[in-house]
């Protein structure tokens, strides 16, 4: 039973939950505001931050207008938590300043993810490692998050040896310019406006681009190596072998993934499906007879990771094929960040 004073201070604390959203005008930042509102995170004040040219512009949150402020003004406002989605360079430059001021940063960029001193969190999997000393928490890559949510319960039960994944990624993962490019190309094709940005080097409408992020020396893209390295860090198991091919397609609503998993141990397919059915954050959609399987059109604006086409890989023992779809702007970014904030708040880890 808490004392009256404890209740009083708890309520005071509840009453001053300031939340900064850095990169508030981008696709992910906008989605963060939407998700904070939808999930009723106990925000008392939003502090929206964006680039210099947006300062003073208004954004709306729960029917109230807020002015976009600068980084320094946001730090001076002392929010309890800052959700960052403004690119790696901004995070490298500013996240430490927020953290030094005692503000817990949940960072959606890749800047800090592989830093051994920074936790990389998918709440269903490893939020338990968080302490009040973690002032800079990394939100994983979108394609990694949805894959590990499905892999984690299976890894615990059957131990994963190797994963071969090929992705089918939405243009929303690139940002507003990519959506504008796709829509511009579609309009042009029907005789509409011909001015639009080129977020990609090539047309994306009716096309497929087998490159996401820049190429590394080993011939893989950075996105592909994120899937390898972040998965191992989140599942805390460097023995898992992973190879990825990440691909951009003219789709919105979510990323899809064709995932082939070899386990150390054999599995019973029905038992494996039951495990997924009972896993946090997973929704199984798998009924071939009724042509039911996960698709971006159904995952759009949902928080779950949808798993289907669950079948034994007949080409070798102990191996599974499955199809994983999730809204990359929600569970792949905004929702996962807000869920981290929810965990911190529920466990008294936010100042």
């Amino acid at each position: 039973m808490p004392s009256k004073w404890e209740v009083f201070f708890y309520l005071i604390k509840q009453n001053t939950m300031k939340v900064a959203v850095v990169g508030a005008t981008g696709l992910v930042g906008t989605k963060m505001l939407q998700v904070l509102e939808e999930r009723n995170f106990p925000v008392t004040e939003i502090i929206p931050v964006a680039s210099e040219r947006s300062i003073g512009k208004k954004i709306n949150f729960k029917g109230k207008e807020y002015s976009i402020v600068s980084m320094n003004d946001a730090i001076a406002s002392k929010p309890s938590v800052a959700l960052f989605s403004a690119g790696g360079n901004t995070s490298l430059q500013w996240a430490p300043a927020f953290a030094a001021a005692g503000i817990t940063v949940i960072d959606n960029s890749s800047a800090w993810r592989m830093d051994p001193s920074k936790p990389l969190i998918v709440p269903e999997i490893n939020a338990g490692i968080l302490t009040e000393n973690d002032k800079l928490i990394a939100n994983p890559n979108c394609s990694t998050i949805q894959m590990v949510v499905a892999l984690n319960p299976l890894h615990k039960k059957y131990k994963i040896r190797r994963v071969v994944v090929s992705t089918y990624q939405s243009v929303t993962g690139t940002g507003k310019e990519a959506v504008d490019q796709l829509m511009g190309e579609r309009n042009k094709a029907t005789g509409g406006l011909t001015h639009y940005p080129m977020a990609y080097k090539y047309p994306i409408d009716l096309n497929v681009i087998p490159q996401i992020d820049v190429f590394m020396d080993n011939g893989y893209t950075k996105e592909e190596m994120k899937m390898v390295n972040e998965t191992r860090k989140i599942l805390q198991d460097d023995s898992i072998s992973i190879t990825a091919t990440t691909v951009r397609i003219p789709v919105m609503g979510g990323h899809s993934e064709s995932v082939n998993v070899e386990f150390e141990n054999d599995f019973d397919l029905e038992e494996l499906k039951q495990i997924l059915l009972q896993s946090d954050g997973v929704k199984v959609v798998d009924d071939p007879a009724s042509q039911l399987y996960p698709m971006p059109m159904d995952a759009h604006e949902k928080d779950e990771v949808f798993v289907g086409r669950i079948r034994r890989d007949e080409s070798q023992p102990n191996t599974l094929n499955m199809w994983i779809v999730s809204d990359n702007l929600r569970k792949g970014a905004a929702t996962n960040a807000v869920q981290i904030a929810e965990y911190l708040q529920a466990n008294g880890l936010l100042k």
Copy 2:
């Protein structure tokens, strides 16, 4: 040195190369006519066949008009070769009648592909098994053809143990109705006409459908099992293990494939690339530094199989990732069929 008579009869024969195209008004049939013309196959007369309701309609070939005729009229015209692309049931019903009349059938449907008495041919790989007794020759599935053209030279050198393939397939593989559905959905989205056929159970515009063809009892689709079984038959090696996930995306111009190949033997990556560079029908497009890789927009209307993103799979020994793109209506269907006809003609196997 052939005798004058031999030359005379050869020229007579050359002068009477009648070619029937069954299903002449479909996407593949239309492409067969285009490819026959472009590749200058020595056609003296086209005999176009289509469904009852099209009989009497005209099609154009090399600037000349031809009337669409019935199956029986086509057989009575005694063409040297009949290219079939009118669906499995039509092939089951009619191909044997053509063959019995001495007409060589090259059939694009799945009806005869796995019949042990019927050759399943990709000319670069196994045209050598054809004899003048083969009157019913099967053209493989589109996604299989482009994969085996790239796999065959590597299998010969390094011996394939296992393949994990995920496909990104164009709506043109389904036929005209699917193209109409996609275009209709796009027009509707911009306020245009709202009437269009539904070739798929779900919208395909901006969506991904992880189902191609019907589901089998093992949870795989027929398309996925075609890739398994046809590959083994064409490469004449049932020891190759294959698992496939076949997926429809809102794309035109060609199918793409993410292919992971485990070999019995290790390889040198540069040597492997050289083998592909020198392989018939393969065009290597692989320069990450210049962001060059195969894409449907570049494969469209080409006859080659484009291979790129060639890199060692670092997750286990002797394993490779690559990305294969080809125009599914050309090498995946029409061109492969015409190439079979070219082989038969060049080797005196056509009557």
